[in-house]
């Protein structure tokens, strides 16, 4: 009989992770701190400090997109979690429906919609309004991020909210809490783990994206992801510089996540005081 808790069952994944996650990470660190000849140097890291404004812009746009995703997804996920089971199934299918289509294709579609002669501007001029500058703006980048990543916010929120029993909300109301007090004292703390994982799942890919910014942002919205892409694949190929920039991005992401997780534990401690 096969024991389901058998250790060996996890080996394939562990091997996979070592080969394709840990080893590449170590390589990134190695290249970041060496020059073309393999000698130790801090030049790459110092040089990547030049890109801090680009990184800041990436963090800024990703943060805006994450907040918009959270604000849109939170009430939606809550309402969805209160529906009947069959309606919940239908809604979660609708949420995932765009993901059945290729990521690039979806972003191309937005390009067609936002272009100077795109769908929106054609309609605007048709009713006599001036055309708007939509494509190649930071707004378009944020829109692309929200559109592509919002399912990753909705799904973890929804899954944690289905675990909030209706009777707990009734108990809160029974004990004197109105709508906002129930939200703040019961729903919000109980859904916090969902918020953390939703924010992580949106912020991390958004901060490192290069497809969305490249296709919707134009040259004015060069993000850290675009930079890394150019350093690895573009005409300014530089393995060591690219590694250093990647490392910087990873450190920023890790710090952000650490701050966020700290916020979670602090908050739950506060609730106990």
């Amino acid at each position: 009989m096969i024991k389901l808790n058998a250790k060996w069952a996890s080996y394939p994944y562990i091997i996979w992770m070592i080969l394709f996650t840990i080893l590449p990470l170590l390589l990134v660190v190695y290249f970041a701190f060496t020059d073309g000849n393999g000698a130790f140097t801090l030049d790459n890291v110092k040089q990547s400090a030049l890109y801090i404004p680009t990184l800041a812009n990436s963090v800024y746009l990703a943060a805006i997109a994450t907040v918009i995703c959270l604000v849109l997804a939170y009430p939606f996920a809550f309402i969805m979690s209160r529906l009947t089971f069959s309606k919940q199934k239908m809604m979660s299918m609708l949420v995932m429906l765009p993901m059945w289509m290729n990521f690039l294709l979806r972003t191309y579609a937005w390009q067609a919609i936002l272009e100077d002669n795109g769908v929106i501007n054609t309609m605007l001029t048709a009713i006599g309004l001036p055309a708007a500058k939509l494509i190649n703006t930071s707004g378009a980048v944020v829109l692309g991020m929200v559109y592509n990543y919002i399912p990753f916010m909705i799904l973890p929120l929804y899954s944690i909210m289905t675990k909030i029993d209706k009777s707990v909300l009734e108990a809160s109301s029974d004990l004197g809490a109105g709508f906002f007090a129930t939200f703040r004292r019961v729903v919000l703390p109980l859904s916090l783990p969902g918020i953390i994982s939703g924010v992580t799942m949106v912020f991390v890919p958004a901060v490192s994206t290069f497809v969305i910014s490249g296709m919707l942002g134009g040259s004015g919205n060069y993000l850290i992801g675009d930079l890394i892409e150019v350093q690895f694949l573009g005409n300014s190929y530089d393995l060591n510089a690219g590694s250093a920039t990647s490392l910087m991005l990873m450190v920023v992401v890790l710090i952000t996540m650490a701050i966020f997780n700290r916020f979670e534990t602090e908050d739950s401690e506060e609730a106990l005081v």
Binding site: D165, S167, V168, E170, A171, S172, S173, D174, L175, G176, A177, G178, A181, R185, V186, P189, L190, S268, A271, L272
Partner: protein, 362 residues
């Protein structure tokens, strides 16, 4: 209990869900300091009645009055009523202390007073040492106590309890019954208690409201409900009963099982078809004879039930359930005597309600 002071009045309350009428114009007065139990089988409307009082369900018709004021549309958080939920519904992210303090914090009670009142409540329910315990690490009985403390700390005028002991084992349930009754008497708060357990209802209540099919069948003290059931449903639901068809020839004279009996009821039409209800413990086994109010029969089976024996006695085709502390061997020829006071006459029209419920009755 203060009979003169009505706290809650239900006037013609009706409610339907998905086209099915759950409550059919309920009238009920709940008095100050009363322990009132809504008793009935599942689906009888007792929980809906409680949820209407709590504010979680809005009645379709009728008025809900609280101290003389109509509160049909007042939301739960504005009612001076607190609820102990069936599944306790404790806040999983808060510890025992904070669960109990929840209501006090909402009204910005000074911290000192919160600590004092929460500790008092936890002491009353015997959980003083559990203040900082996580609620999901507590046993069912302990969670129940937290739920009770959480509701009572707000000093509600009325405490609503929705089958609060349903999930506990028998021994714990009995303990909690006494404790709840003690708490209710000590605090002098009105309790409205929902249960399907007739024994629980009889043990704890000042007033029992028997419900079935969205209607109130009978309101009375536990003694009234048990000794003077007004219809066959109540008789069958509360305790066990022998129910046989009969004909009321005139006041105090009823015919059933092929002979005339002296009884104490009256007020029926001449020769009206009725149902005769006799409690098994009111049937006495005597020597077979032609004496008045006595039938002859044969003991079919004997079961030992702990406090008493249960004998099934076949008297000319009608089987009587008899409870007695004296053992009579199976196969014996005996007489069964029913005294006039033990014969309860019911109108026949009530029988449909009983049949609807028939499958689940003992």
């Amino acid at each position: 209990m203060d009979q003169n002071k009505k706290i809650i009045e239900l006037k013609g309350i009706s409610k339907s869900f998905d086209g099915e009428q759950i409550l059919k114009s309920i009238d009920l007065d709940i008095h100050d300091k009363e322990f009132l139990t809504l008793l009935g089988p599942s689906g009888c409307g007792k929980t809906t009645t409680l949820r209407i009082i709590g504010g979680f369900v809005t009645p379709d018709a009728g008025d809900l009055m609280f101290l003389g004021k109509k509160i049909n549309h007042v939301p739960p958080y504005k009612r001076k009523v607190n609820t102990v939920f069936q599944k306790y519904a404790l806040f999983p992210h808060l510890d025992v202390f904070e669960n109990v303090a929840f209501g006090l914090r909402l009204v910005k009670t000074p911290e000192k007073e919160i600590v004092k009142r929460v500790r008092e409540m936890l002491a009353m329910v015997g959980l003083s040492d559990f203040e900082s315990r996580k609620v999901d690490l507590l046993s069912g009985g302990q969670q129940q106590r937290v739920a009770i403390a959480r509701a009572l700390v707000n000093q509600p005028k009325v405490l609503l309890l929705d089958e609060p002991l349903g999930a506990l084992d028998l021994k714990l349930r009995k303990e909690m019954q006494y404790e709840l009754k003690k708490i209710q008497q000590r605090l002098g708060i009105t309790f409205v208690y929902v249960t399907h357990d007739q024994e629980e209802a009889l043990t704890m209540s000042d007033t029992v409201v028997v419900m079935n099919g969205g209607l109130i069948q009978q309101i009375g003290t536990p003694q009234d409900i048990y000794n003077e059931p007004v219809n066959a449903f109540t008789a069958k639901f509360i305790g066990e009963s022998n129910i046989v068809p009969g004909i009321m020839h005139k006041d105090k004279l009823v015919e059933f099982a092929g002979r005339n009996y002296e009884c104490v009821d009256g007020g029926f039409a001449k020769d009206e078809e009725v149902e005769v209800v006799v409690r098994p413990e009111d049937v006495d086994i005597v020597a077979a004879s032609d004496a008045p109010n006595t039938l002859c029969g044969k003991v079919m089976s004997v079961l030992f039930k702990g406090v008493h024996y249960e004998m099934m006695v076949d008297c000319g085709g009608t089987v009587w359930r008899v409870h007695s502390t004296d053992y009579t061997a199976s196969g014996s020829d005996v007489g069964i005597y029913i005294e006039p006071e033990a014969i309860h006459i019911m109108h026949k029209s009530d029988s449909s309600e009983v049949k609807n419920y028939g499958g689940i009755l003992p």
